[in-house]
Symmetry: C2
Subunit: 336 residues, 2 copies
């Protein structure tokens, strides 16, 4: 963990005080050096591969300074990066935090941010190993997560084959609905409000991803960060296949009557809403019977089938079918 | 490597086309997945530890859009992060690139940036493994480098002991002088101008760092990124020791008579100038005889001695001595 000049010692000290739990990281743990040195050292497990992923989390692009509670910014910046680890079936080990902050945000905002980051770090068992801090007019965050997976067990996007069944975890569109609610500003943004919770405090599906990798059940997998219509198209492209999705099977977010009247449609939210961080995966038809309906309380839903012909087709409840255009519907997409 | 929406496919494709050399990264290489998938996979060497380091490189803070050639921005963002690997004695393996760009910079600027980045990637034998791209009004770069070192061979900042001799590589103050020249704008900024070269295209001392780690010669080490006066104080603090530096021994930058008349002083540049990316290391007195005067054409200079009493003292050519204050002299420091 470095900082760019002496004035930033205060930020660094605060991060270390809040984030580094000496009792949880005694000598002999596989993580060493790091905070205060030029680089972090990490001792990999034998017969495992290292997973590397990084994510921007930028004010104005990924969150809004005045709308998103700092605690949620801290949680979500790590959760999003950890979701990329879940997406290949890995186990997080440690992360690097690059943080740029305005002077005005080095007090209470930083404290609350670190509170959320610390809860996420403990929840995902992913320790702060190092980073870089600097002053800046805007809040800029970049997170690198380092994880492990048994050699050759990582699940890629590219393994889907014609005939495989397509599954998703959880409910789709919940985070997008939460964002809409937050933007309307009628309900408070916190961890207790179920409508905004999934947008503010996503839960990457680590246990499910690891289980699918361990039992070699899934042929392809990714996390749903940009919405099903965009992400399924990417999985199909990487695998050189297409897909047919049955709209009536989609586990869509529940939308209240009053929200429906405001034009919020469960199917559209489920197809195009981003930020759910659920898993999208494919399973060979002959293994599908071994898949439970729920894994550790997370619902698994078959939503369609991989096809030889490229392109993603949506079978409508009316019986008709149409091409599914990536993220075609969301007017806020470019603002996220 | 991810990108945030379809509009950014063009940036991603350009990065892949310029940076990913399929011939150099065939199947079976220890780097897999990565570009286009959720995360990169990296197979660590047995009996080695993983080194992790990340660095901001931000427009306005670390470089200027209109002053620094894009080719130099590409080279330097990786070179700085790789220098942190040299500082612990490691060998770089791969890096993650997080890049945020304005629309205006996705054409020629990006091409030239990738040209410099590619040369650095080849020079340091450090492959692009993944990253994250997004659009942004300002140019934001974050680099994570992953490296390896034989287990327990990494050299930390904290190992210096009283009586150890203090060494630096190369000449100090050259990069700072180059920055001054660049700011005056009288000379062109390019790789051929020796005055600006070290500021624009620093050479991390990888071979030297690895050699010092392999032969267990150094007790403590770090790279000189913020200037000797700041960085030596950090090494001493981490080691719980102090230091005496002999000013007449310092391998200071050569300053022309005309630049001296403008107030540029070699000693001040050597003490407080940043961005040299030379190595600062300590060697037990009884091993110092084994240290060559040059290692692979890089000069090694003994500049002083570690002391039991804390604080860094400068012995002046006049015979007097004074406390060395970290970075006290540089009026541009806060602008860098």
């Amino acid at each position: 963990m470095k900082h760019n000049n002496r004035g930033e010692n205060a930020i660094l000290n605060r991060i270390v005080a809040r984030m580094v739990d000496r009792a949880r990281n005694p000598a002999g743990h596989r993580l060493a050096l790091g905070i205060g040195d030029d680089a972090a050292l990490f001792r990999p497990k034998p017969a495992h591969e290292i997973i590397l992923t990084c994510d921007w989390f930028l004010e104005g692009t990924h969150f809004l300074r005045d709308t998103h509670p700092p605690d949620a910014v801290g949680w979500k910046c790590l959760a999003r990066a950890v979701s990329d680890v879940a997406a290949v079936g890995g186990t997080p080990r440690c992360f690097l935090l690059s943080l740029a902050l305005p002077d005005s945000h080095t007090g209470r905002w930083l404290e609350e941010f670190l509170g959320g980051l610390r809860r996420a770090s403990r929840k995902f068992d992913c320790l702060l190993a190092g980073g870089d801090t600097t002053r800046r007019a805007e809040i800029l965050i970049n997170i690198t997560v380092v994880a492990e997976v048994r050699t050759s067990r990582a699940i890629r996007r590219s393994g889907a084959r014609a005939g495989d069944l397509i599954y998703v975890s959880g409910r789709l569109g919940e985070a997008e609905l939460g964002l809409r609610v937050l933007r309307r500003g009628r309900r408070s943004a916190n961890n207790k409000n179920p409508l905004t919770r999934k947008h503010l405090y996503p839960s990457p599906r680590l246990a499910l991803g690891q289980w699918l990798a361990d039992c070699r059940m899934a042929t392809a997998m990714m996390d749903l960060s940009d919405g099903l219509s965009s992400d399924l198209a990417r999985l199909c492209e990487a695998s050189g296949v297409g897909a047919r999705v049955e709209s009536e099977k989609l586990p869509a977010v529940r939308v209240s009557d009053s929200d429906r009247k405001l034009g919020l449609d469960p199917l559209q939210l489920a197809l195009h809403g981003g930020d759910d961080y659920e898993l999208l995966f494919t399973v060979p038809a002959n293994k599908a019977g071994m898949l439970p309906r729920k894994y550790k309380n997370v619902r698994l839903t078959r939503i369609g089938k991989i096809t030889e012909e490229s392109g993603v087709v949506l079978l409508q409840e009316s019986g008709g079918e149409r091409s599914l255009i990536s993220g075609g519907w969301d007017p806020f997409r470019t603002k996220r």
